[in-house]
């Protein structure tokens, strides 16, 4: 009995140690980004790395925002990212809720087929259709514009799936009662369905915002002018420039990460539920 207890204490300590060390290793690169963004380059590549910045060296941030050419294009690119990610999230939420509601609560002929067709689009990876999409965007003359950046992402099948699953359990009595009271179908959607889907909407909005904030490939194809670039493109360009030093690069990366990390800390519940929701995607 005694040996078992001793053994389990050792195992217990080892598990704690493993979890804590893993947490440190995983967080270290993020801490590295923030601390390096506050150091002059000669400190960043010092061996060993001095984890604590001596004095808060803000020149990196100035350089990241000003750009090597002094054009101050980064704030504009940040704004673009907010506009695109915001617009895509808004439209994804509204249209997914609308379609999900239609699929959950309105029996019509061919409904299963429609649902199947929508789910089938999840199998088409963006990487496989980016070239034809690029040609579509060119022929519509929407390349290098907000419309071009936003349009291909306005709805996604996963969002529809999520909203449908959420709304399928919504009580029919409430909808019927509203109909008897004389509400139109649109006003039922707007006044009853949307406000009552808040948790699903928040999850979907956050997932969508994050993935757009991260989007590199599509803007890389269609944003030609500096004014229409988004954050990932700026970071790629800035990192390649000869005059960019290590600290400035980390400052640009830190600026890109602060909004999304704040969102994460404030609304971690929805990030986590978003991740676990993907696992319920069974078709």
């Amino acid at each position: 009995m005694k040996t078992i207890r001793k053994q389990s204490v050792v195992v217990d300590v080892l598990i704690w140690a493993f979890l804590i060390v893993t947490a440190i290793v995983i967080l270290a690169p993020i801490v590295f980004m923030f601390t390096a963004s506050l150091m002059p380059s000669k400190d960043i590549l010092k061996m060993p790395y001095p984890w604590i910045p001596k004095d808060f060296y803000m020149d990196n941030y100035t350089q990241a925002i000003r750009g090597n050419d002094g054009s101050f294009i980064y704030p504009r690119n940040i704004l673009n990212s907010f506009i695109v990610a915001g617009a895509v999230s808004l439209s994804t939420v509204l249209l997914s809720a609308l379609t999900g509601y239609g699929l959950a609560k309105f029996p019509f002929k061919g409904r299963n087929l429609v649902f199947l067709l929508i789910m089938a689009t999840m199998m088409i990876p963006f990487e496989a259709i980016m070239i034809p999409l690029y040609l579509v965007a060119t022929s519509l003359k929407i390349q290098n514009s907000y419309v071009g950046l936003i349009l291909p992402f306005m709805i996604n099948a996963f969002g529809i799936f999520l909203m449908r699953q959420y709304l399928i359990t919504f009580p029919d009595e409430i909808i019927d009662a509203a109909r008897i009271d004389g509400s139109g179908e649109f006003s039922i959607f707007w006044r009853i369905i949307l406000p009552n889907s808040a948790p699903a909407i928040a999850t979907l909005a956050i997932l969508t915002f994050r993935s757009q904030w991260d989007n590199l490939l599509w803007p890389l194809l269609i944003s030609q002018s500096e004014e229409m670039k988004t954050i990932p493109l700026y970071i790629v360009k800035f990192a390649m420039e000869k005059h960019t030093n290590e600290g400035a690069m980390m400052a640009a990366a830190a600026i890109a990460s602060i909004p999304i990390l704040i969102l994460f800390l404030a609304l971690s519940k929805y990030f986590v539920s978003g991740a676990s929701l993907h696992s319920s995607r069974k078709g």
Binding site: T22, T99, L133, L135, L216, I235, V236, I260
Partner: protein, 303 residues
């Protein structure tokens, strides 16, 4: 009379149903179904960007070319090395971390958030951070030298082909480990506590409980995580793009997506890039089909 009235309502409902669904269908027609069909169509042509000559129909010649091209096979190889090298460690470690987290009574939320945080960052940011860590004077060398007791050795993270492959794998592993840990935690939480208690009463220790109770019941989640992470890896682009842009050798990490991008945008060869896209689509379709099949057959577990 009542029947007619009911039919009226059903009719009306069906109309509204269509009305709510039509915008999405129209959207997917233009932005999903048309492009994938177009990609297939274009892959049968010799078509170049900014070319004034009309595209020439060449049947499956693009595919034939690719199947004979060492460059394309190199991309297939790079993609599969990356995918296998990333998703297997991800599945093993995320399962391990999830089990360890759930075996603790406290700090579940802290560990989940800490492990998940890299997944929140943009992939470009992740690649930029690791680019500095892999610098000859960076953290990666310092750490390796301390761990392995070497002095001032440069492990050439971004220079030799083996190391640059390992570097991209490390970035991806770091970024997605927490995401899949959370999925495993969701799976673990759905196993009824009573089963573990019953096993304990029957004299099972922690290891036996894990091996005979947790692991078999977690099979559907494991399959799901495997296929999701595999699909995710097959689509990798940002890390490889930023690494090659900043001077890392292209060949070992020239994954299919990067090759599609370069063939289309740099070489203007739209036909060939489309053929590559269709092959990538075929590979991913196969794994998605596998996911549906497996989750249908083994998806439901009786406790």
């Amino acid at each position: 009379m009542r029947r007619i009235f009911n039919m009226g309502i059903e009719h009306k409902k069906a109309r509204w149903g269509w009305f709510f669904v039509i915008p999405s269908l129209a959207f997917f027609a233009v932005f999903s179904f048309y492009p994938i069909m177009n990609a297939f169509y274009t892959s049968l042509f010799r078509k170049r960007l900014l070319d004034l000559r009309p595209p020439k129909f060449i049947g499956f010649a693009n595919y034939e070319y690719l199947l004979k091209s060492p460059d394309f096979w190199n991309s297939v190889k790079a993609t599969f090395i990356f995918t296998l090298g990333t998703f297997i460690p991800i599945v093993v470690f995320s399962l391990l971390l999830a089990v360890f987290i759930m075996s603790r009574r406290r700090f579940h939320k802290f560990f989940q958030m800490a492990y998940y945080s890299p997944a929140v960052l943009s992939s470009v940011v992740a690649a930029a951070i690791w680019l500095l860590i892999f610098d000859p004077r960076g953290l990666a060398n310092t750490t390796m030298n301390t761990l392995l007791g070497t002095v001032g050795k440069d492990y050439k993270w971004l220079a030799t082909s083996g190391m640059v492959r390992l570097s991209t794998i490390l970035v991806y592993f770091w970024k997605y480990i927490g995401y899949f840990t959370i999925i495993f935690i969701t799976g673990l939480a759905s196993i009824p506590q009573s089963l573990h208690e019953a096993a304990r009463i029957d004299g099972a220790n922690g290891w036996k409980d894990f091996w005979h109770i947790t692991l078999p019941l977690l099979k559907p989640t494991t399959v799901l995580v495997s296929i999701m992470s595999m699909l995710q890896c097959l689509k990798t682009f940002s890390t490889q793009y930023l690494f090659t842009q900043s001077g890392a050798p292209t060949e070992p990490i020239n994954v299919i997506t990067l090759n599609i991008y370069n063939t289309a945008i740099r070489d203007h060869n739209i036909g060939r890039a489309s053929a590559m896209s269709i092959i990538l689509f075929g590979i991913m379709l196969f794994f998605t089909w596998l996911q549906f099949r497996v989750s249908k057959s083994g998806g439901e577990v009786d406790y």
